[in-house]
Each structure stands twice: as structure tokens, then as C-alpha cells.
Symmetry: C2
């Protein structure tokens, strides 16, 4: 019988010997390597945080003591030790739980999280509530070094340090963000590692924290000693652990960036790099070309270069033409605005789910100033992602900011034309929703100048029904167009709106003449989005409108096909709804 | 002839003697006290930053050297020294310029700013552009100590410190935010002041900055020496100035919070505190009552307590039931979520213009987790404010976040009922748009339970036209209702929608029966807002809809009456538009 067999909940750890705890760590490590390679998931961060998690649950008493995991890239061992072992040992159950903490799974999880840099603040809330209610418990926030660059983390730490109470911040310093860290703070962490935590200045002490350093953050006795030392402390305290990302898997230890998160089968090399062209690859080609042409062209990315095909090789080729600003989306947007103000040519490459961390900066620092920076929004689409990483909100968010031009290309030619226009022009802040899916050909000439704003492209002039297929959903509109002709004998009008952030009022007003119904299709939530702008414009004329898109909800790992069915987004469902509306 | 008479642009300073520079400072101080008291404006911050501004423009060469002011609460002297003196000396011109920096006013202004904590990032962008373009200039970011608590400032500083280039951060440490500072960082600033900048740890050095301290930050020779020392530095450098907020005005030096920003006539005591009840005052009364009843009730505010009637006296009464988290809206929302998760009763009081700094936290940290925190949004209204402080965007922002219930009360009774429900219930994150304007009486019973979500209240059942008056604009709908009867003989349906974040589909579907037109009125932008949700719902039935509200634009100090006319929001314009739509 393995040690792991005997452990289901934190209390099962309490009676284990140090040797058994070490065996447990080894068993969990083998299990995680096998399981994550089978399902995909966060690999390096979890392998590096096995011993600290065992030590936390050995020393503290969850759920009386509250442990909050930042972003929860590192929570798998915690899940195994808190009643969810079967989901890691039984392949039939692999996909039944989330890759992140989730209170619906366990009383040991305090928040659904998936964006970084939040847990100092969340933990401050828990600690303040404890004190208001005069309860007694330790509140522990686990946060990675990479997450410390995010502004929310700083705001939380700054407030945490001013509390006169128990709050333990465990800094999991594996010397990496998703990609290498960037920012002055990381020089300080390096100094602290170099000096066994004794060096000055000390960032954490400067904020007012008590401070404990653990040099081998994967060594159980050291960890247990450190946690026992700070348990029940009446002071805000940082425990700085130096851990090894990917520990126990040579490939992951050596290539920390590639093994931060892996696809299934990565360890056996079943995932060779894509060789086919994609929207990501043609974007990178464009970046390289512009970089050669214009020394003031620069690509910014907030700590997710791999997710936008900016591999270490491409970054090296871009040289000064690339800057990873760390997990710092607010800074990324404001910095892009500053670059554009001074005449440089910044392009910010950012995921849909993360651009929402910088709404105020998009509005105030960028759009209000009309600085001609370009924002490329990747992964904007209805998807089966975790609730924390949905890409369906960006259009309702960016599309309602004054001055900001938000474009939705429908083909590779149109995308590159829009990108090139956006980079060359000097009048507007421009965001472009990078298409999702395989490269599509335009099959017709595309415009090169998008400065006459909010002009729709009418691709087919028909009657009865007008189909507006925005961005990714233009091809869905084409399919519906074909079905309408086949099944109902309707030759509909087909429109490529091109602009997310405004409607073509003239075009929409003209539709009243020969149309009974306007149909909008968008790859995002309907509420606050493009289609509702169209509805507002058409409804003043009494023209019927159907808006198709996602409902306003946090879907969680629901397969895309199921979401499409649920939201009435299959071509046949749309045709049926159109038929009903025309009755 | 005064020294000020001779000075119009920075170059005019270069030939002045130190004595003349000092005289100039005294003259500007007298001018500012007189002018700000006449017009209202940021008082304390500007009085404390006269000598540093003179020294900056004496040592550096603007606009070749670029000086960026964070939030620009302290830019009046800069304006006087860069071609805009007449706007401070000539009462006829007082209102012709903005209270903030604005590139349209002067080539010495780099950005329109009005939200805090942005300029380290903006300046990093300027510095990076300079280096990419191989130009030579100093880039200087002026930032107050209060602004340093904002996450965007940290992200910017963290990136700035990692640059291997010239970037000078001037920290204007007047020992105050708008109200007193909160956060661990301020302990470190106090240590640095106490030790003449020599103490350890040093927050700025921990990030990697070179560091210079000036103890008397209002002493011209010290300032000039410090700036000359760092001019053309090849390193990111912090110049930490200890200045006196309100310097030269005894009242302002003694009562820094009250004199941060003043109304006209404040120095002569023409502005006694309001004694009439208001939405602010009944909110405070509610806070005090709840605090007495429930020790877990707590009010959070991010550094603008005065703007929401949380005076020092009220804060003292609330004691542990109040926390100013500093300029840290992201933390405020996440902390509220943590408090609610742990069973406390947090209410976050925040201005409309600033809640947009925490979109991701509202979505991920709060709404996704369904933690029952309450957010009170103040000042949400179409107004004649500066472009940086508009209150018209919050409904399009909060109204499209899943799970978040956003309520729009129309009277004091309804507001208190909603607030009480929001605090007591445990199912939803709830935001309430605090009504703007004088207290209104409901004149009818109001609901006490708002948990059946998205149910509109039909106040008058009529026909032909249905008027939906949301929140502040319910009373406008009442006026229109009356005019419709008087002028067109139409007894319209009058609806109080109550919910911003969703529509009552049943109610709207029923309207098709006896109505030809649905009219929505909302005190915010139409795009992405409530009315477009109604349009989307009604347009599927082919029902005509007119959406009234603000256009999507950054209006800048346009009088509210003019905005109403421009947006067709006067009762008579609305009636006219309705009449046209019914033709």
C-alpha cells in the first residue's frame, strides 16, 4: 500500500512520519507527471509546489485555516490532499474537475480563480472578516513570483502589510512567470535568493511584512519548520520559498516556459510544433517584416508570449522590437499609449480574457488620448474554456469605449489589411479581434483604408432578410445565407460589418426598404455587443431584428458544440428561428 | 513689474536669479490661492508643487525633455509656466482651460489625464519610444505619494526600474493621498523621510531605482541641485521630494483633506457643510445603523471618502466598520469579495468614474464567485464633468457582467429598500447606482425583495407608447408621460425597470399587444446599455423602440443642459421624437 493510498484529507497527513511525507511527495509527483501528460494542464507550476502543499496541510488545519491559491496553476496537490484524489488516479474521472480551485468542489477551496495576482486582496478580505467576527484561524495566500508583477497583487500586498493581524503570504518563487519574469522586482527576488533572504533592500520588508526565507522550497523539513514558525503569527508575514518549477521532470526543469502548461502527450513528443500557417503565424510574419522596416515598431505582450506564437526564437529575432512587460496588462496598455504618443509604432498582443484587466487604461490612457496604438485581441470567441478564461466578453467591453476603433476581420487578407492600416494610421487607437480558427481566404478584394469609420461591406445585395456576420461569424452567416436560399428560397442580403465599435446607420436605414428581418451573428455575448447596437438602430424604424451570440453567463468547460446548440448558433437553428420570425 | 509678468514659457526662467525664482514662487502662490478660491479646483496639491515645478522647468528643457504629471492634480504651475498664464490671471479666461494636462492646450502637455497612477507607465512608453528612435531627451514622471498605491503605478514602476535608460520618477510626497494614505508602503515613505532618505529597506531601491531624497521639497536650491544631479542620467532614478500640501495657506496646511479640492469661496467660508438630507447622507445614516447592528458590516472606500460623504467624523464613528484601502479599486473589489466569502457584510462605496478601474475584479473576483458583496456606484450620471471624470459609462460596463445584479433605484424609499435587500441577501453580488440629485419620494409602496431578478415595475398601464425610465431618468419619464397626455392625448404605459443588468422579457413581450412604441430613457451612454437590451428584446417582435441616453463620446466640461439638448433628452424633444416615430 502506498502512502498516497492512505491519504484523502489533510488530517491524514498529521500522523505521517517525515519519511512517509517524503514518499507521499514522490508518489504525487509520479502521479502528476502521468496524469497531466495524459490530460494536458499546468505542469511546471504543479510539480514545483508538491512539497510546499504537503507542508502547508501538515502544519495548518484546513479548512479552519484558509489557504487561497493565486491563479491556482499550482493547486493539483492541494486537490489530491483535499478529497479529490480519484480525479487524478482514475482516468474515467480525469475531466470531471476543474484545473483551478473551485468552492463547488471542496470546502477547502475558497474562490474560483484563474486570473493572476488576485489572492493577496482576496485573503485580506478573509482576514478582515475573521477579525470583524472575532474568529481564530490562519489566513494563507499562496502566490507565485510571476503574479507579483500584477498591479492588483501590489494593491493587495500594500493593504495586507498594513494590517495588524495574522496574514501569511507564501511566495512561491520558481524564478519564472509563464515565460521569464520581467521587472525591477525580480532583481530584488534574485538578491534575496542569492543572500538566503538576508540581503537589503528587501521588497517585502519595505512594505512592512515580517519575512522568512526558505532556500530549498522543495525540502519538506525546511518547509515544515518555516510554516510552524509563522503559524498563528499576529503579523502580516511573507514566507519566501525558492522552489524549482517542473521539479522531477528533466524536460520541464530545463525548458520551463514550454512546460508551464502542456497539451496531452507532450512528454512523448506527440505535439510537434504546428507547421501550417495560422492567424498567429501570419501575425508573427507581419511583426518580423515591420520590425525590419521600421525601428520604431514594437510588439508588447503581458507575460503570455507563447499563447500568441511569440516563441523564444521569434522574440530573439524581434530583439528591441519586442517587450514582455510581465503580468501587467494595465501597464501594457498605458505604455503602448506612451509609445504611440511619442511616434513609435506599438502593437499590444493580448488575450481576450486578459484585456479586460485594463478597461480603464484602454479608456483613459489610450482612447481618450487618441494615441494610435494597436491592440490585437487573441482568442476572442465563444469557447469551451474554463469560466475564468472565456473569450466572449471583449466586444461588449471594447466596443463601448468612445474613440476606440474595434475591427473584426473575416479573412486573412482582410486581417492583414486592417493590421497594416491600423499600424500606419495616426488618428485612432485601434483594436483588432484576431480571427479564431483556420485561415480563411477572402475570395474578393478587401479594403486597404478603414478610416471612413463604421462602413459595412455589403457582399450580397438581396432582399427579405439581411444577415450581418461579424468577424469569426461571417462564415456562419455565409452558411445561413446558403441554407436560406436552399430551404426557403430567400436570397438574403449578406453583410460583413467589419467594425465592432459602431454601426453603419445609412446601410441599416436602407435595409428597411426591401427587408423584413435583420439578423446579427457575433462570436461573443449578445448583451452590450454589436448586435444590440444594430437592434437599437433598426428598432427605431420598426424593423424586426434577431441577435445571435452567446448568453451573458460564465460557462465552465462546456464543449463549444454544446454551447452553439444552447445559444441557437447552428446554421439550421438559425434558419429555423428566421423562418419563425418571418411568419 | 513682477517676476511673473516676465515669465510666459520655460525659457524665460533660465536667466532668472535664485532670488527671482523665489519671488516667482511667491507670486504664483498668491495667484493660485486667489484663483482657485474663485473658481474651485485642486488646491492643496497645487500649492505644494509650485517650487518643484519651477525647478523642473529651470533645470530641464520642456518640451524636448518630457514632463508627465500623474493625475495632474498638481499641474497649475506647469500651465502658468508653459504659455497659459492668462487663464489664471484673467477672470474672463478662468474657465477656458481644463484643470488637468491636455495636449490640445500646449505642446508641453503629453497626455489628457485625470485618473491616478498612470504616469510611470505612460512615461515608460515615452522613454522606450525615445530609445527606439535614438533620440536624446529626459523623460520625467511626476507622481504623488497617494497615487503610488494604485496597481497601475506599481506595474509601471516595476517596468521602469528594469529599463537600462534615462527615466526620472519625481515622487511628490506630501504625506497625503486625497485623504490620509493607507498601506504598508506609507510606512516606508515615513521611514525614508525620517532618515533623510538614508533608511533601509528602501522601496524604490528594492525595485532597482537609483534614489535621491530631497527633504525640503519646497526649497528651490535643494530642488535645483537634485534635478541637476539626475539630469541626463542613464538610469531609472527616483527623486523623492518631501513637500508640504497646501503650503502657504494655513487652513489648507492644517486641514489637508478638506483642502485637497475646494469649491469656489471656500477660503471665506462661503461653503458651510450641507445640512439638508441627500442620498449621500441617508446612505451614511444607513451605514451607521448597520454598523451598530452587525459587527461584520464594513464600508470600504478607495481613497475618496469625502466624495461619498464619509467625513473624518463619520469614519471615526464607523471605527472598524470602515476601511479606506487607498487608491486601489482593484483591491477594493477583491477584498470585498473576500469579506463576503467569509460571511462579513461589505459595502464598497465608489465613484462611477473609478469603478471602471476594476472591471476584471468585478467579473472574476466577485461576480464569478457569486459572493454577496454590495457595490454602491456614486455619481453615475450624464454630467458636465471633465472628460476624465464622466459618470456615464458604468451601466454599459457593469450591466454586461454575468451574475452581477445592478440596480437602479428611483426614490429614497426604493434606494434604501434595495440597499437593505442587497446587504441582507447572500445569493448575488449586487451593485446599486446611487441616485443623483435631490431626494425623491416614491409616492407608492416599494418592493422589499429584489431576488426575483429582472422584474420591471409597471407604474401606469396605458397604451400606444411604453416609457421605461431607468433610475435617475424615471422622473424624466414621468415628465414625458405627462406631456404625452397633455399634448398628444396619449395615456402611455410608465415602467420603472429597476434592474440595469437584465430585462423583463415577459413584460416586454406583453407590450406588443397594446403598444406601437417602446421608449427607453437612461442616464448614461446608450451603446452597450440598458435600452439596447430592451431594443434587442422588442425588435425580435418588430416593435418600434427609441433609445434615449448619452452618445458614446468623451464630453469635456460641456454643461449638462447642453448635453441634454445635444442628446435629445429634454422632455419636449423626447415628445417630439415620439410623435415622429408614431407617424
Amino acid at each position: 500500500m502506498s502512502v498516497l493510498d492512505k491519504v484523502n484529507f489533510p488530517q491524514d497527513l498529521k500522523t505521517l512520519s517525515l519519511a512517509e511525507l517524503q514518499t507521499l511527495a514522490d508518489e504525487i509527483r509520479r502521479l502528476l507527471i502521468y496524469k497531466i501528460d495524459a490530460t494536458g494542464g499546468h505542469f511546471g507550476p504543479n510539480l514545483g509546489f508538491i512539497e510546499p502543499t504537503i507542508a502547508l496541510h501538515y502544519v495548518f488545519n484546513s479548512p479552519t485555516d484558509q489557504v487561497v491559491f493565486d491563479v491556482s496553476h499550482q493547486c493539483y496537490t492541494h486537490k489530491i490532499l483535499t478529497g479529490r484524489k480519484a480525479y487524478f488516479t482514475n482516468p474515467a474521472k480525469y475531466h470531471e474537475i476543474s484545473g483551478y480551485t473551485n468552492p463547488q468542489e471542496s470546502e477547502h477551496d475558497w474562490f474560483v480563480v484563474g486570473h493572476t495576482s488576485t489572492d493577496p486582496s482576496l485573503a485580506v478580505g478573509l482576514a478582515m472578516a475573521r477579525d470583524l467576527k472575532k474568529e481564530h484561524r490562519n489566513v494563507i495566500a499562496v502566490i507565485g513570483d510571476g503574479s507579483l508583477s500584477g498591479g492588483e497583487a501590489f494593491e493587495g500586498l500594500d493593504n495586507a502589510a498594513a494590517l495588524h493581524t495574522n496574514l501569511i503570504i507564501v511566495v512561491n518563487d520558481n524564478e519564472m512567470s509563464i515565460a521569464p519574469n520581467h521587472g525591477g522586482l525580480y532583481g530584488n527576488l534574485a538578491l534575496l535568493r542569492r543572500t538566503q533572504g538576508k540581503g537589503e533592500p528587501n521588497f517585502f520588508k519595505a512594505l512592512g511584512f515580517d519575512y522568512v526565507y526558505v532556500d530549498d522550497g522543495n525540502n519538506l523539513p525546511s518547509l515544515i519548520r518555516a510554516f510552524e514558525q509563522v503559524k498563528d503569527t499576529p503579523r502580516p508575514t511573507v514566507v519566501h520559498l525558492h522552489t524549482l518549477k517542473g521539479k522531477g521532470c528533466a524536460q520541464a526543469e530545463q525548458n520551463k516556459e514550454a512546460f508551464h502548461w502542456i497539451l496531452p502527450g507532450t512528454l512523448e513528443g506527440k505535439n510537434p510544433p504546428a507547421t501550417q500557417d495560422s492567424y498567429d503565424s501570419i501575425t508573427v510574419d507581419y511583426f518580423l517584416k515591420k520590425h525590419r522596416e521600421d525601428p520604431s515598431f514594437i510588439v508588447l505582450n503581458p507575460a503570455t508570449p507563447g499563447a500568441v506564437a511569440l516563441t523564444p526564437q521569434i522574440r530573439a529575432q524581434l530583439g528591441e522590437g519586442f517587450a514582455d512587460v510581465g503580468i501587467a496588462e494595465e501597464h501594457a496598455v498605458a505604455c503602448a499609449s506612451g509609445l504611440a504618443r511619442a511616434g513609435a509604432k506599438p502593437v499590444l498582443a493580448v488575450l481576450s480574457s486578459f484585456i479586460q484587466r485594463a478597461y480603464d487604461q484602454l479608456s483613459q490612457d489610450l482612447a481618450l488620448n487618441n494615441n494610435p496604438a494597436v491592440v490585437l485581441v487573441y482568442g476572442g470567441s465563444i469557447s469551451g474554456a474554463d469560466a475564468t478564461h472565456l473569450g466572449c466578453f471583449d466586444m461588449a467591453l471594447l466596443g463601448n469605449i468612445p474613440n476606440l476603433v474595434y475591427l473584426a476581420p473575416t479573412s486573412q487578407e482582410e486581417y492583414l489589411a486592417m493590421l497594416n492600416w491600423a499600424v500606419r494610421q495616426t488618428e485612432h487607437a485601434v483594436a483588432i479581434r484576431v480571427p479564431v480558427g483556420p485561415l480563411a481566404a477572402a475570395g474578393r478584394p478587401v479594403a486597404t483604408d478603414y478610416s471612413p469609420l463604421n462602413r459595412f461591406e455589403t457582399v450580397v445585395s438581396g432582399r427579405e432578410v439581411a444577415l450581418l456576420g461579424l468577424g469569426n461569424f461571417y462564415h456562419l452567416a455565409e452558411q445561413v445565407h446558403e441554407l436560406l436560399e436552399q430551404q426557403l428560397g430567400i436570397r438574403a442580403t449578406l453583410i460583413n460589418p467589419r467594425y465592432i465599435s459602431g454601426v453603419d446607420r445609412e446601410c441599416l436605414d436602407r435595409l428597411t426598404e426591401q427587408h423584413r428581418l435583420v439578423v446579427t451573428l457575433e462570436d461573443g455575448i449578445v448583451e452590450g455587443g454589436f448586435g444590440q447596437k444594430v437592434a437599437s438602430c433598426c428598432a427605431k424604424n420598426g424593423l424586426k431584428v434577431l441577435n445571435f451570440g452567446a448568453q451573458k453567463e460564465f460557462t465552465d468547460r462546456v464543449p463549444t458544440e454544446e454551447l452553439y446548440r444552447r445559444f441557437h448558433l447552428t446554421p439550421q437553428q438559425i434558419v429555423q428561428d428566421i423562418q419563425n420570425a418571418l411568419k
